[in-house]
Amino acid sequence: MQFSIYIIAECNMKLMTRDDKSLLYNVGGKEGVLDEEVLLLTQQLLSSNPDFATLWNYRREILLHLETVRSEDEIQRLYEEELSFLEACLKVNPKSYGSWHHRGWVSTRLPRPDWARELSLCERCLSLDDRNFHCWDYRRMVVRVSGVPVDQELQFTDRLIGSNFSNYSSWHYRSTLLPLLHPGSPETHSHRVCEEQLLKEYELVQNAFFTDPNDQSAWFYYRWLLGRGVCVCMISCVYVSREGERVVVAFSRPALSVGLLLVVDGQPQQVNWRSAHPRLRHSPMWICDLPPGTISDTSNEHNLTVHWTERHTHRDCALYTGRSESWCRDSATDLELFRSELSVEKSSVLQSELQSCTQLLELEPQNKWCLLTIILLMRALDPLGYEKETLAYFQTLKEVDSMRTSYYSDLCSKFMIENTILKMEYAEVRVFSLCEKNLSTLCHLDQLLLVTHINLSSNQLLGLPPQFAMLQCLEVLQADDNAIENLEGVYHLSKLEEVSLRNNNITQLSDLKILTTCPRLARLDLRGNPITQIANIQSQLAELLPSITELLL
């Protein structure tokens, strides 16, 4: 009695009434019988417990069997009865997976379906609980199968949002309908909405967040409207160094090295690509060593091409006579790399949105959603120009929403790093300095491939993460007055000569072991770290790092 075992396993016998138990026994005894008597028996059981998947399955088997032996009219009647039975089940439990699924199945089997009736059923259910996602799912199915026009559906969301705008489901549904009904221009991305409609949506959503600025659903929709930049995957930089005969390729976003092909002076090279750090499997940066002698002679000029067959893209780089290194890349400013949080094309739109939000902030100075949105808008408009205001808003945010202080710190760190990179790009230097800015995390390190000097002193860093290994040109690292305890990212930095880590939190010799991968390291400052308290530390360090000529403890 395989079937009975399923049933017993599925239902909690303790919760069943004596009547139900005897019914169940009867059903078990009928296994394999596909007639209306069993239909009735299962109906009795399901009406008190509609979440009984096996019984629904049994019913489906019976109904499928009856389809083969009955006339269409009889089948129609049978399925209509099934629908009204299901309605009763939904009254018992409006969120029953079994009932909704069965209803979907019945609706598609019905010879002459009445979709209008199904839509009105959904409407009734949603008016009782506008967040019943089972009903939302079922409704989407009905709409798809019966071909309800998109504009009619948009009106439906208008109505639901009008009666209660705290409804993620309606807003979300809207976000799927708008690109269908009002697609953006072809050159912009396909998921976008045309400008004219977008302006109407801004107005709608502003009405919502001005009415109730503490309601999240409107703010989330607003973020969707403002858009999120789509980062196209491409080769953003190729760097060649004669010394060590090394080629570094950077992607615009993390990827595998599959399909990466290096051609030097027309000759495909057999090379092994490795990521900047073994812990980064998907990495925005891949490194390879050329066979010795390929480019070591400074009197030769070389032309390199990196092909990325996966993405049908490539990038050239020329290494001229007498030069020890060379690179080819887009500057961060050209790409507007850091505006990708918001993708609205026109700054005039952003400007007016910023005005509305600032207006709201005057009325609601404590509103975190408003503060955060203002920060994002400011960044999209002019990240450097608004830097001071942005920092002040972050300060307020941390005060009004203290539960998320760390999140805001990290976000602020990210923006500060972006700004510093932009400044560095404008100044065309290879020095990155970001001191006393309360940095709590490091990011965008792939953008720092060419940096030779970095100063991160007086922040709140706890470590140098694996991504730090992407600073392939780094010669001097200063990170005094942080709380650094691990140096994981100081890995195979072949040009690193000087490391200053005064007043950090390095406690064990093993923490420094990673430095042995940096062959040129000559100066190391560890003053003010707990490690200096260890006996014989000087001799142990000398043993561990023989290349060091100047050790400060």
């Binding site: 009008g162 705008f165 001005f210 009415t211 709201l360 009325l363 609601e364």
Partner: protein
């Protein structure tokens, strides 16, 4: 005859609630009503019923200014002192001039092309109308709704949400954003105004928690407070006239309290704070009458009390004498203020309510749906004039025939109803004769009348025996809290140790104890029993359930009736 029971005369809201509450806890209740219909001033009339009511009250056919006038007279009997019931002389002067638009309605506006409803049609469909003499709405969290729920009386009636709150501003009717959804959807407000309004309303919801916000204004008016809160002119209008619904000079705290009352009722049943009973407000006293009847209350319609029999020593009323000369003993007597003669009043000055009832052919503010129940607040048209409250009922409330709207206008009287309300009517409505260019709905028929507002009176205002309890008539307020509070107070005096309207058991839980219950009717004249039957018929004709409930029966799970007070002889 001797009957030891609290006796009531008429069933207005308070009286019917008291009667129900008494019957519910086992008191014996006799209702006496001079009229052939229930609920007196709280009654709902069919159109034709209203016409004969107008006739009965001997008022001008088109403009009625009246007060119900009981016709009982003082009578001496034996050596006992009889406190007479008064004849109320309070009939306001009628201006009586036949008016254009109302006359028109009589001659059927055939020339009007767009509107096809004629006076004859209205008369013909007269039964579809349920016209209330008082115009009120039920606050979703008011005392009345709470009582209906608590006592289970709500099952005797059905209700509809008032769908819109409108106001008359700058010459046009517009929707008042009062709920969160309204504010969100409003086209009239800028986003900044939306924020300000929501912020202000959120504050009002628990203003007691933030006394610092208004303490400087406790001695000043709500109007000043609103201005000081930097609310725009738009918002000041909405809050003052349509949400708080108070005059400008109202004190800040009272204004805040009214606003809070409005807001607390929001969202319980819909997007406005109000409910309206299907078939009209007259249903509500009737529901309580049903409850009273279920628990043994007896009704005598077309019957009235001539005089009270007082005990010389205690000065208490111990019996009443009805119009047939029958003596009915009672331990308490509840009567409406309108029946009290001037001699028994101690300088109580009555205010009056100006009322108008219109039948119109369209909505004041068009919308997708024809079926709208709207509350319209019209601020004073000129300084010193009263604010007018207007309730527009659609046919789905079963108070008017399809295609028409029943409009009730109410304001505290400063002159005659016509003087007070006609200016508002002429601005908001047009005549059926006008050509199609006018957007405003046309008035098909109208009646104006004044009613006495006796809310200000309390016990000390009457020179009456201690066990005679006076209920005030309808008041000008929008809600019914006053009547319910009053009923509760009277009930406390009648039955100090009993619960006020505990939940009635469901009909299926009631155990009928054979025919033993009939005994309670003993001692009544044939006439009284006939009236009782009439009451039953009336209920049956309303297609209400279980007519047998209205005969006096013993009810299962009932507390024992308290010992009946002894008659003093």
């Amino acid at each position: 005859f001797k009957l030891n029971l609290p006796s009531h005369s008429d069933e207005r809201l308070s009286e019917s609630v008291i009667a129900a509450a008494c019957a519910r806890v086992g008191q014996r209740v006799l209702h006496v009503d001079r009229r052939s219909y229930y609920a007196a001033n709280w009654a709902s009339f069919t159109f034709n019923g209203l016409l004969s009511w107008i006739d009965d009250n001997k008022v001008c056919t088109y403009f009625t200014l009246l007060f119900i006038t009981p016709v009982n007279s003082f009578k001496q009997q034996d050596q006992e002192e009889c406190a007479p019931l008064a004849e109320d002389q309070q009939i306001l002067s009628s201006d009586g001039e036949p008016q254009g638009e109302e006359q028109l309605s009589g001659s059927a506006p055939t020339q009007a092309k767009k509107k096809k409803i004629s006076y004859t049609k209205i008369v013909k469909e007269g039964r579809r109308f349920n016209i209330d003499l008082v115009s009120k709405l039920m606050y979703s969290r008011g005392l009345l709704v709470d009582l209906l729920i608590k006592s289970n009386v709500s099952r005797y009636a059905e209700f509809k949400n008032v769908s819109r709150i409108l106001t008359y501003r700058q010459g046009k009717v517009e929707q008042v954003p009062c709920s969160r959804a309204d504010v969100f959807g409003s086209k009239e407000l800028t986003v900044v105004e939306k924020r300000m309004l929501m912020k202000f309303l959120t504050f009002c919801l628990d203003y007691e928690q933030h006394p610092e916000e208004y303490q400087d204004f406790t001695e000043r008016s709500f109007w000043e407070f609103l201005q000081n809160n930097m609310l725009t002119e738009n918002l000041q209008h909405f809050v003052l006239h349509s949400i708080a619904m108070v005059p400008r000079e109202t004190h800040t705290e009272e204004g805040l309290r009214s606003t809070q009352h409005f807001l607390r009722s929001l969202g319980r049943y819909g997007n406005t704070p109000f409910l309206f009973p299907i078939y009209g407000l007259g249903e509500i006293p009737q529901c309580f009458c049903r409850m009273c009847a279920v628990f043994g209350g007896i009704y005598c319609l077309r019957h009235s009390v001539q005089c009270l029999v007082l005990d010389k020593e205690s000065g208490r009323c111990k019996a009443v004498i009805d119009t047939c000369g029958q003596r009915i003993s009672c331990s308490h007597f509840v009567v409406e203020d309108g029946y009290i003669r001037e001699e028994q009043r101690k300088g109580v000055e009555h205010k009056h309510i100006s009322r108008a009832v219109l039948i119109t052919d369209g909505l004041l503010l068009q919308s997708e749906s024809e079926q709208q129940i709207s509350l319209v607040t019209v601020p004073p048209l000129e300084p010193g004039a009263p604010a007018v409250r207007l309730v527009e009922l659609c046919s789905s409330t079963m108070t008017c025939m399809p295609g028409t709207y029943l409009v009730h206008l109410t304001c505290p009287s400063s002159g005659s109803a016509r003087e007070d309300l006609q200016p508002v009517v002429s601005r908001l409505f047009t005549k059926p004769a006008s050509d199609g260019s006018d957007e405003r709905p046309a008035v098909l028929w109208a009646v104006y009348f004044n009613m006495r507002d006796s809310t200000a009176a309390d016990r000390s205002g009457y020179d009456l025996p201690g066990n005679v309890h006076v209920c005030s008539g309808p008041d000008a307020a929008l809600g019914s809290d006053h009547s319910i509070r009053l009923a509760q107070e009277v009930f406390r005096q009648l039955a100090p140790h009993e619960e006020f309207c505990p939940p009635a058991p469901n009909p299926e839980d009631i155990v009928y104890d054979g025919d033993g219950g009939q005994g309670e009717g003993a001692g009544f004249s044939e006439a009284a029993q006939a009236e009782e039957g009439a009451a039953e018929e009336a209920e049956e004709s309303k297609e209400k359930e279980a007519s047998q409930e209205s005969s006096p029966v013993e009810v299962g799970e009932m507390p024992d009736p308290p010992p009946a007070p002894l008659a003093e002889e």
